[in-house]
Amino acid sequence: MQSSSLLRSFAMRTDDDAFEGPPTETVQLLRRLGEGDEMAGEELFGRLYDELRKLARGAFQSQRDDHTLQATALVHETYLKLTGGKGEWKDRQHFLAVAARAMRQILVDHARGKGRQKRSVPGERKLLDSIVDELEAKSHGLVAFDEALGGLARVDERLAKLVEMRFFAGMTVEETARALGVSMRRVESDWTVARAWLRSALS
């Protein structure tokens, strides 16, 4: 997929002719989630998990070196694929929250399995491998980090969500702020606290 067309589809003008047509199933799930339907969230999670993995397993090729960017691109590509660009601003916020959780699950699963699996098909898991390698280094061990993050969620759920979004889905401060419905400043201060908490939990 050409990324320039991908970008144009992200233009969230609700009055744009290009976006006419019925909302996709995913968009409907997002709206149900927005109305507080938790079942929709679970269903969406499963869908995102599968789709993210499928995309990661080969369809997506990137020239970029920065793996965090790749994670972000992966999430956004998934969004496009599942909604056909028909989501609205609010839908994308819900999407990002669920996608970040799915992304975390995928990467941690991948990190767990990495030691056991033989890399039989060269290049097949290349993207996830490279993302996981980088996150392993940054987190002082992804599996332990995931457990620590679970601990943080019990102390302060919003902080854990924020780490999911920023660390696993590679979202920027601004994107995270929008998705969580808080200010950028709040995201920055939350990030500082979360990072210190996680480091002390891991040391």
Binding site: S4, A11, H76, W89, R92, K138, S139, E174, R185, V193
Partner: protein
């Protein structure tokens, strides 16, 4: 382990407040905040110890620099946080789980660990103190080395130290461990305290150890309230031989003895240097003033060597005459005029406390001795000039920086065509900016043109150049304590009656935003009369600036707009249309280039409050335009892009979505200011204020949202306060500027 689990909200609150403080103040703060709740204090300390920027969860966005990296463990000790640092060592707070005790750990600074001589000095200190067993000298638990870190563990003293007690009293606050200043109890308590220190020094002197760096911050209250001497880092140990000359001047200048300051004469420094320095501490405790101050180290040393300090009673009439005498004798210029031993000093202080006659002679005799010194002043001063350079070199890496590190200002005046105008006459003043609310201090004159080298206190200023022809320039500058010469350019604008054409005047007012997002939330800002551009700065205007000043263009112009130097470009937007580039608002410049543009135009960037007031008015309206029922005005289109979006795509999004400036007259304010909400966000000269008032000097507010903002109040709330980076990357594809100017700059 206790089962008590501290409240998370409380832990977080104290952590965030503490991290905004300098590390040296954190221990005191924690003690006050945690009120003896040890589990709470430990939880906060763990967070503080874990709080630093490094590869852990490293993200590619810039963040404020934290403390230098602390080890997580040193031998058997868990490191919990930094207590303070000096020229050669860092002192950490630590916890030794095996013995369940708090400790203070002094660790040699990393880069010094490679220097054998420094390691030797460090070990010498440890050995020296380890030999001392006295209730008023901090005991050493053990000396160690761990992964290249040399360290020793001492008893942890909860403090506060006398330095912070003095700071508190100087600010008019109540000290924690001392009676309030100028109360009946205070003189006696001070005398007892200093006598205890003098006893400890006498003991150390008896063991052949001279401390040589007695100062308030090295005198710390222990858990039992007893004053304790710490930091024998500069100690001279008789049995270990003398130290080199540069070592000797590593004390703190204000508390140094004349013989320490006069080392060029190779005068021997003995135990009486400690008597002198403790005398200075006594003087400061009694008067809340240091006897000798100066702009530079050299000036301080000259004062110490040759000047007579005001008698203590002149500064504080409540000081008893005997105590003043004791103080003067301890601080005598000539070691032979002082108390011969620290013990004698202590004994006289105790006589004073017990209302007995003191042994010291009244200061009249001393003043005669001082006059004798003064007669030789010229000689002494000459000797000191050479020392000055030596001392400065040695001190730059030291812990105490005085005004030698003040930044310096030079001004170059240029005419419109860029030619240097040496003939320009005028005066220059500075107005200090309160970083928390952007308020301007009163103008302080610093000199006349030409201005080549004027020292100012470090700070963030608006430098105002008032030319004699009536024009004036306003230059926002962050002048850190770097001692550097900052060369500013002021553009001499010919006085024109039409100078404010294209600008709208705003009358003096108070801007008091209520949202939690503002740097000055809850703190009203007084605005003086100012002018604000009607329109955002266009590409045509910005191009003229680039060509006139030979400033490199924004990277997006350089990469995607070949031939940008030409006027009247019709540019393809990437979706089949073309736009008249000149009319679009300029974006993509760095914050510094935006400031340079404003100065070149004879203006400045607006402040957060000015832009906020222009858009929202004193009634804090939601939209800039007058018709508050119409929410859908303005170029606010919610066009989204992502971190993964390429720069070329961002450039195209800008071309497709930004409107020519002033294209939406219905969205202008009643005052006639266009595009305050939407189109492009606008840079201000207001620095980002983080949680708990921490100012981030690398980030500036950019207000007003842009074409990529979504039309929700939440999103506008965020966008209206998004931050622009000062770094070389440049502002983004949605951030530009408009200019302001003060009506009366002073």
């Amino acid at each position: 382990m206790t089962a008590h689990e501290p409240e998370w909200e409380e832990v977080r609150r104290i952590f965030e407040a503490a991290r905004a403080l300098p590390s040296a103040e954190r221990a005191d703060f924690l003690r006050t905040e945690c009120r003896g709740d040890e589990a709470l204090e430990r939880a906060v300390l763990r967070l503080l110890a874990a709080d630093r920027e490094d590869s852990f969860l490293g993200l590619d966005e810039p963040a404020a620099a934290g403390d230098a990296q602390a080890p997580e463990r040193l031998g058997p000790i868990e490191i919990l946080g930094e207590l303070g640092r000096g020229g050669m060592g860092v002192v950490f707070r630590g916890y030794e789980p095996e013995l369940d005790r708090d400790v203070a750990v002094k660790c040699l600074l990393g880069h010094l660990s490679l220097d054998e001589a420094q390691v030797e000095r460090f070990r010498r200190e440890a050995q020296a103190v380890a030999r001392l067993h006295h209730p008023s000298i901090v005991p050493i638990h053990f000396v160690g080395q761990d992964r290249g870190h040399h360290f020793f563990a001492m008893e942890f003293l909860p403090g506060p130290d006398l330095g912070s007690e003095l700071e508190r009293m100087k600010l008019g606050q109540a000290p924690q461990r001392l009676p309030a200043h100028r109360t009946t109890a205070s003189n006696g308590r001070i005398a007892e305290l200093v006598a205890d220190v003098a006893d400890a020094l006498q003991y150390a002197h008896d063991q052949g150890i001279v401390h040589r760096d007695i100062k308030p911050s090295n005198l710390i209250f222990g858990a039992d309230g007893r004053i304790t001497v710490v930091d024998f880092g500069l100690a001279q140990v008789e049995s270990l031989g003398s130290l080199t000359r540069t070592d000797v001047i590593q004390g703190s200048p204000h508390y140094m003895s004349p013989e320490q300051a006069r080392i060029a004469s190779q005068k021997k420094v003995d135990h009486r240097t400690d008597v002198y320095s403790l005398g200075v501490v006594l003087y400061e405790l009694l008067t809340l003033k240091r006897p000798f101050e100066g702009e530079t180290f050299q000036e301080i040393f000259e004062s110490i060597a040759s000047r007579e300090p005001p008698l203590a009673r002149r500064l504080n009439p409540d000081v008893p005459r005997d105590l003043e005498t004791i103080c003067s004798v301890a601080m005598a210029k000539e070691p032979s005029e002082r108390y011969a031993t620290a013990g004698a000093f202590a004994a006289d202080l105790r006589r004073f406390v017990e209302h007995r006659a003191i042994l010291a002679k009244p200061p009249a005799a001393l003043r005669r001795a001082w006059r004798a010194v003064l007669r030789h002043r010229k000689l002494v001063t000459t000797g000191l000039v050479g020392v000055g350079a030596l001392v400065l070199g040695s001190w730059m890496r030291g812990e105490l920086r005085v005004r030698a590190t003040y930044p310096r200002l030079a001004l170059e005046v240029r005419g419109r065509a860029g030619a240097v105008r040496d003939d320009a006459a005028g005066r220059v003043s500075v107005r200090r900016i309160d970083l928390l609310n952007g308020a301007l201090g009163p103008p302080e004159p610093i000199g006349h043109l030409p201005l080549t080298n004027v020292r100012v206190e470090p700070g963030v200023y608006r430098v105002v150049v008032s030319f004699d022809n009536g024009a004036y320039a306003e230059l926002f500058r962050d002048l850190p304590a770097d001692g550097d010469l900052h060369e500013l350019v002021a553009w001499l604008e010919p006085p024109e009656t039409t100078a404010h054409e294209g600008m709208v005047a705003f009358e003096p007012t108070t801007f008091a935003p209520t949202e939690d997002e503002c740097p000055n939330a809850g703190r009203p800002v007084e605005l003086e009369r100012f002018w604000l551009d009607r329109f955002e700065v266009t590409n045509a205007q910005y191009r003229r600036f680039l060509l006139a000043t030979e400033t490199p263009p924004p990277s997006s112009w350089a990469d995607f707009l070949p031939g940008w130097e030409a006027e009247g470009l019709e540019v393809e937007t990437g979706d089949g249309r073309t736009v008249a580039f000149d009319e679009l608002p300029a974006v993509g410049m760095t914050w510094e280039d935006a400031r340079a543009f404003a100065e070149w135009a004879g203006k400045r960037l607006p402040t957060h409050a000015e832009l906020g007031h222009a858009g929202r008015g004193s009634e804090l309206r939601l939209w800039p335009w007058a018709d508050q029922t119409r929410a859908n005005l303005g170029n606010v289109n919610g066009v989204a892009y992502w971190l993964g979006t390429s720069r070329r795509e961002l450039w195209q999004l800008y071309l497709q979505n930004a409107s020519p400036v002033g294209a939406q007259p219905e969205a202008a304010t009643a005052d006639g200011v266009h595009d305050l909400l939407g189109n492009v966000a606008e840079l201000t000269e207001t620095m980002h204020v983080g949680p708990k008032g921490a100012v981030d000097r690398q980030w500036f507010y950019a207000l007003g949202g842009a074409w990529d903002a979504a039309r929700t109040s939440q999103d506008l709330g965020n966008d209206a306060h998004s931050l622009a980076n000062l770094g070389a990357r440049g502002a983004s594809c949605d951030t530009g500027l408009r200019c302001a100017k003060s009506a009366f700059p002073h």
